[in-house]
Symmetry: D2
Subunit: 388 residues, 4 copies
């Protein structure tokens, strides 16, 4: 196995983007449970996100969701973030929470609704100009619930048209990253249900369009790491939305449901050069904390991704490649499992100490009193959540 | 194939219970789209449900959800229902929409929360006494999101204790019908995830406890009609919650996603004697109309169940049994498919005409102007939905 | 709904290709059950296939599997087929049944094995030259069983190389049709697991490479008709392998497990112009008869596809499009369901009578005595099956 | 976390039974790849199984499959096993590999076939008398492929009748352990598709009937550890068939596909007292080695189960229970994950050294030359596989 010292530098460079909405309330269609201290404003969300970075050292940016995080002055918001020790990152468009979007946004049969949705997407690029964000992340809830409800093919035409319009608006250093999802909220077809659809559209658009892999958006049994390897080979992997799941898009903490899968994904990332800056892959969390406290939930998730990355980096690539080349099924599998079975927590604790961080981020945050402080301070107002 | 005339009587006797909450707003965690004319009170929901019965003739009862449909005077509500031409049916308990239930209701690690949940269940039996309902339908959202979060076995103990307490409170003609569900809202374990769990608890409780089969609550690939056949054989099938799905618990209109499955289920119902009054099986819809108009959505669903039942009744049981006995795979399958492939709509239209109903319920309701009238009248107030 | 008379011509033109191997023995890993009268040679398989065409009128061609159907003289085989009233169709390569292919064929880590596999593929093009076949159907069992066993990306490189070599060998009127499959026989990764992978390779290869949709090769919950619509839009749908399934690649008779899905698929075919000769879509069966008699199993399957096609053609496209355009969810769904719920069997029986065929192919074949005759004649020799 | 020293005793007592058939050839329906040195007789299978025990110290018994392992003199076979250092264990009945069983064995519509199948089951109890085995493991491939093919309920009646007859034949210290499976080889219904069905039959039979959990036999998304916890609570968990899977019943090495799931299962075993002798739970492997060498594949699997057990034993039950009791979602999850993330391999290597075993069983076996020796010696004869 590779020496830990040899992978420290890669780990120190790792950067995982946090979603602002993970700090607000979320839930299922059955119930959203409120929690004390939940942020009420974009600023408070950023302050919370900054806590995660302060204790882990590898979560330096925050993803925004428009309109949930719309502010008058994005420059001021960026400055506030900088004061907290973090930066603004990806801009997420939202065209699924207005009554007009009942039958879709950019694929709606009604041209007026399509126009409205497109205007919002273009506005998001304006926001990117203001925040200096590189990526516009597009996820469409568009789809149909019943066979025959709308024309599958016509919806693809409408989708392609909207994507082309947004693509044309991008600056030189801006990108579209397009997310796919099997189902929910639509229950018969989603208009971008799988990586193949996202890939085909991105190919059509050009180099500045890449695919987002959300680890919770696949059919049961899908081999996600295959998709990751394939997209890296094709130069089309734009970003990850990490989270975990047992059933559908459960949005649990990354690595909580299937830590071995997360390791396998990161093994393909490492294998495919996806950790390098040139690859341009954005590593983001996209998950919801329905019943657990939100800041610790994010810290735990960041640590889980870090541990999986450390293990992936520890894979002895030469030993693995040799076993593969000689058709040694058990030997090759063992080379991979040796890294997975290693307990990397002590190494990572040492790395943190070297970086001036507390070796145990969960405990350190708990001791800090931050949670109690914001619970006391953030009284009144409207807690943030989906839709605000 | 059996003559249609021979099955008319069975069809005329069919009764499908409607859920009051199907007439209120519903949606996904992403968005609840409001619709004009949606009821604001239990009375208005019952009025809407009565429309479905008025046009189909086979939806004579309405299921209530407590506390969503709690009123001061249930006797008055029952009288109002009678005036509208329908009756009150099953009582559905709700122990999943208060902050106290974040970690469960009757299986919560906190005894105080368990007590509160149990009190609500017992209160529901009080409501049943008032409404004259036979069935208390219990669905628990209880479960855990993370491995280790709580003790699976201890939760079973707590569940058994609560069920026993409710069972002890039942009157002679009252029953518990216990529903199972694979996942959602809990994402690691549900405390009653499958029919085996529900069956085991009902067996322990006694004759007045039966299992509810909700057609949307199974793992992918589960053969639901097998479960139906098994439970009928065991005398433990209490009720159906019909709806349909392509992915998870999509709650689409019954029969919309897989009409052949609905037919196969009803074939097992017919085969197992489940249509007879003695079997005591309650046939209910439990579905949500997120994007389609609600009353027509219920009419369509009732018709879909009726059509599937008609086809199931048309199966020539003798031909089928003979082919099965001689091991004629294709012959036996053909006997079943012959009924399924028959277009029963003309027969059912005739049946309606004989009963003094319009042969085309969807068109008749559309012509009636009811939808426009309530949209105009029901202005202001708070539209009903999950949670109200 | 469209008049049946308006769709008769399309139905009369329909052609469904039969797989030679469907007439041999097949089974599961647990047991292959033999049946009396099973063919022992390619000629006997063709004779059986010709029976299906004789009774249905829409199964004029037979797919061959090399080496299972390898003969000395393909010209003679073609002549024999012509005498029986059918033609030779697609050539299926087989690189999965020799010990050398334990770790893959064209993606094997061993270059010698890759060369051997490629030679077989090129030999198949030779066979196509001899038979005049248009399509080379490629399905690779290649993949891995364990994480780390081989390098996912390197296998894609090897796959691309082999495909390019075969593509270069194609004549002007020849095509590659590339099949994907989620799993089995490999259990961790398949090298072409999904339509996206097949599509990406076909795009790279050029116009003579198209995707095959086998209806049994998807993850649970995959919307197959979406893929069909997408590939037709992209001009990349090459062929169908029809069969049906409840769980995995069950290879049951087409339309037997989910007739509604088959209808929805054919609706997208019709919608996307896939029935036209110009579209170049090959409609094939690919299924196994483990417990049912083989010729009747194929007749039943052909009829099921025909019935689904008839229903799809009956959809009133104008009514559907209008309802879709005005966002009428239930109206649009009803336009589709109206066609699905129609019993097309009487129309098709009439069509057969007009064509000089027996209106009931299943009964006519049963009466013919063919099954009894071949059971008596085909004694001794080695019954055909997978691997022979 | 619990000290390793405190769990050593439990680990030293662990016993995992090996399946004789794992040492023979196996494969998929597409191809069985032969391997050099594969056993040709029950004796050679036992000799190979004994190697696994010799290097791991925790695989002291071997499961037999009748008729695959039928011998003239089971007493002699038992003596041979003893000489090799192992004992004979569970007897597995096989009623799925004769042509008579095409439509089922004990549930076949033909009474003569049912009688034949029952006779075989009773013969297996005779074998148990001869071998001194405690458990008769029953897995039925019985089921149907097509809707209508046979009567679901009648098949349950026939199943119950056969089970009762076998149960009546059991000696005082003998048990039936009944296995369930979702699908394969039947594709529409299996007659024992899920744990609920097995549980209901076992309950009906009595105390000497228990349920077998095969980890590869569930629908996607099924929470297996819930079932384990439930069955232990009910006193009805009889045995495990360990193996692993990504898709269907892939029969990969235990722990290879989802090591975290294996750990969670063993956590519930420990929690529910399932490791104690009194619990009477048999821990068996049931898996096939299609492409990997067979003895190392079994050693690897045994080690995987041992590592998962060690981790499960290391869970600090008090810390876990306290976190659960106070509703500390992240704390409770962390208590579990702390054990899972521990690298137990050094501890287990030490344990082996203490026991006089080589600390690295895989390497020690590879060095031993056994594989090369049997490959040289076992030439000629018929390699064992499914069906022989």
């Amino acid at each position: 196995m590779t020496e830990f010292s040899a992978v420290k530098e890669s780990l120190a460079r790792q950067a995982i983007e946090l979603p602002s909405w993970a700090f607000g309330n979320s839930g299922t269609r059955f119930k959203v449970f409120g929690q004390p201290g939940v942020p009420r404003t974009p600023h408070e969300k950023i302050a919370d996100a900054a806590q995660v970075h302060a204790y882990t050292g590898i979560a330096p940016t925050v993803s925004l969701h428009i309109p949930w995080d719309r502010v008058e002055d994005f420059t001021e918001l960026a400055e506030y973030a900088a004061e907290q020790g973090v930066r603004l990152g990806t801009i997420n468009a939202n065209v699924f929470q207005e009554d007009d979007y009942r039958l879709g946004s950019v694929t709606n049969p009604d041209p007026a609704v399509r126009r409205k949705a497109l205007d919002h997407l273009l506005e998001c690029v304006d926001v990117m100009d203001a925040t200096g964000s590189r990526d516009l992340k597009l996820w469409f809830s568009d789809g149909t619930n019943y066979p025959g409800q709308d024309d599958i093919r016509a919806r693809q035409d409408r989708l392609a048209e909207a994507l082309a319009a947004v693509y044309a608006r991008l600056g030189d250093d801006q990108r579209i990253v397009l997310e796919y999802k099997l189902f929910e909220p639509a229950f018969y077809t989603m208009d971008v249900p799988d990586w193949g659809t996202a890939y085909a559209h991105c190919l059509e658009l050009g180099d500045k369009a890449k695919v987002v892999v959300d680890t919770g958006h696949h059919a049961p049994g899908t081999n996600i790491e295959f998709i990751v390897a394939f997209l890296l080979r094709a130069g089309k992997l734009g970003a990850f939305d990490f989270n975990s799941r047992f059933y559908a898009d459960d949005d649990l903490m990354a690595g909580a449901a299937d830590p071995f899968q997360l390791f396998r994904i990161l093994h393909e990332v490492v294998r495919g050069g996806g950790l390098s800056a040139e690859a341009g892959v954005a590593f983001m969390l996209d998950q919801c904390h329905n019943i657990e406290p939100k800041i610790p939930g994010q810290i735990r998730s960041v640590l889980n991704v870090q541990e999986a990355t450390a293990k992936a980096l520890l894979v002895d690539a030469d030993t693995l490649a040799e076993a593969q080349a000689r058709g040694d099924v058990l030997g090759a599998n063992a080379a991979l499992m040796d890294a997975y079975n290693t307990d990397v927590r002590p190494f990572l604790a040492d790395l943190r100490t070297e970086q001036g961080l507390d070796p145990d981020p969960m405990a350190a945050f708990a001791r800090s009193g931050y949670a109690e402080r914001v619970a006391a301070e953030r009284v009144g107002g409207h807690q943030a959540g989906w839709g605000a």
